[in-house]
Amino acid sequence: MPYGYNGKILRVNLSTKEVKVEEHDDYFYRTYMGGAVLGAYYLLREMKLGVDPFDPEALIVFAPSILTGTPAPGFSRHSVVCKSPLTQAIADSQAGGFWGPELKFAGYDAIVVKGKASEPVYLWISDGEAQIREASHLWGKTTGETQTSLREELRDDKIRVLAIGVAGEKLVRFACILNECKHANGRLGMGAVMGSKNLKAIAVRGHDKIKMQDKDTVIKWAKWFSQNFMDNPSNAGLHDLGTGEGLMVLNKDGQLPTRNFQTGFFEGAEGISAETMHRTIFQKGEGCYACPVKCKRVVGADKPYQIDPFYGGPEYETLAALGSDCGVSDLVSVAKANELCNKYGLDTISTGATIAFAMECYENGIIAKEDTKGIQLNFGNADAMVKMVEQIAKREGMGDILAEGTKRAAERFGKGAEKFAIQVKGEEMGMHDGRVKGMVGFGYAVSPIGADHVVVEHDTDFDFNAPDIFVEQMKSLGLLKRCKTTGMDYQKLRMFRYLQFHFSFMDSLCLCVLAFAPVRTFTMAHLVAIASAVTGWEMSLWEIMKLGERRINMFRAFNIREGFTPDDDWLPQRIFEPIKTGPREGARYDPDELKTMRKLYYKIMNWDPETSIPTKAKLIDLDLPWIIDELEKVGKSVR
């Protein structure tokens, strides 16, 4: 009898309306485990070379992991994996909340969807049964209206709904997917992939808890977490103020992305800070399944905008992207933009970054008032920022161009606009400045999914000023020394590799980085103990790190197959230019250093240093020999 997983994967073809169940053995689950790796398995195996993300033949995989639904903090997440319409590369994005555990309780470990429905549909999965149902009445509805409507229609207010909004329907290239209308698979446009398939939502309900081999051990550590998380400096802050707690600290250190990354110091930071939120519009903290940290914010306001608490509240990335990066210091305006993004299903990071890009284009005369239909798109114009969110979601006016993302919009605008597009592989940069955080910057460049900020634990956590506890908790990975925050060197390259595997297995096991070491409460030893207790397998950190390495290699192989080269592992021009003002004035990324470190990284990963193709030896080491065939079939030389 399997523990942790159900042994059933749902296969859905929306073109043929076929729904079937696929079963795999223990070997399959122990090799791929779930989440990002499971998704990559299906994309590499079944998606043909060059298929457009919006083509009916494109796959989209919804996958929790063998551990999801474990009644312990940090085990609530699920991944969505597809080819990104923003980058044309492989994409994964994780969301917390309740949907992943509920899918497990309903009897499935993942859903693999292909095809395109002739009319809008939703999937209804209930205690092992799955149906494709008509959803024309939901098309055009907000995520909130969709969720309410489905719960009424199916007569159960405990149904967990994953849905897209109008942005996904209109194929905005950074449309997201939400569950509970506030937990987002935010990045890389997977909401648009759902929209391209006429798939509005997936509603799930299950009554079977996951089977664990040693439930007592799991419960013991879950209780321990609840009793101790307030002693962890990061988790205590997350509980009190949410992820926004760090905004003022980043600003004080001169690394808060401001006015499209022109500088790292925002004079209006206090206005959008978590402290101000707490004193003004904050209503309560909320959490994900089985988590006492409750780092999510719920906010409400009446002026200058009415804010509906139903859609939660802005997190750090949102505060920075729609706030400081747009030069906006009015918290209620940022909260309104956040509400609209959750209603319409937009990634708050790419939305904010794209508006910031447009603002810089506007201030430099690349676009004019006639183009924006009278909107004065200057940095700091909060009303304009909110209007642009609305326009992007509905593809109205200038929003239709911005809905393509900064890379494509810059090509459309011309006149040198590309230098204002702060993106890698087409994905807008997370709200952390690579000129200051060296490993984060390096991760932006070499990550297979683009400029994602959750590729590696951040440099500042191991700086000479960081608390001892973070450094101590990193040592079980064999990383023993502190580092300086800026730049890369040999020590940091080694750190990057191990910490990248670490974040990579987190995305594969669908674990929350805000619950685990090196920075947060659960240690690596706790993870191994809980994973072993859930599955009944005698697991080790080595095995789990190999899972992380497997993900990176599978993702790299997918991109290689699609034609990506080392030239795509690069940073936008702005990151090579010095920060203009503030405490970090003058900080920049050195392109020569990036070139040198990139080649060394390929070597340390056992990839071809010239092409970045994983070697035959590495793919064999990771038990992925079939990928050698997949690459050679399309003419890629695997040495």
Binding site: M230, L241, V249, K252, E275, H432, T460, D461
Partner: protein
């Protein structure tokens, strides 16, 4: 001597202040002495639990006049000390 102490993040919520002026009679002081004063004046054990880990390690980031510092840094009249959460990410 007088110094200004600023608190950021959840520290300001727990202590109930964003900044405070701390006055000390003796001149030869360190950041640690100022932090002790803040603990005594605002929040007591609650704020102490945020500034120090259970084993006595420092759980915050400290700055003296805008430059990172440690607990044993010397302070002088008119200095500004900032006690803030660790600069984290992820």
């Amino acid at each position: 001597m007088k110094v200004i102490v600023k608190l950021l993040g959840s520290l300001s919520i727990v202590a109930g202040i964003q900044s405070a002026e701390v006055e000390l009679e003796e001149d030869n002081n360190t950041v640690e002495r100022i932090v002790d004063k803040i603990v005594g004046m605002y929040g007591g054990e609650k704020i102490k639990r945020r500034i120090f880990t259970r084993d006595g390690g420092v759980a915050v980031t400290l700055a003296l006049n805008g430059t990172w510092c440690s607990l044993d840094a010397k302070v002088k009249d008119g200095d500004e000390i900032c006690i803030m959460p660790p600069i984290s990410g992820g």
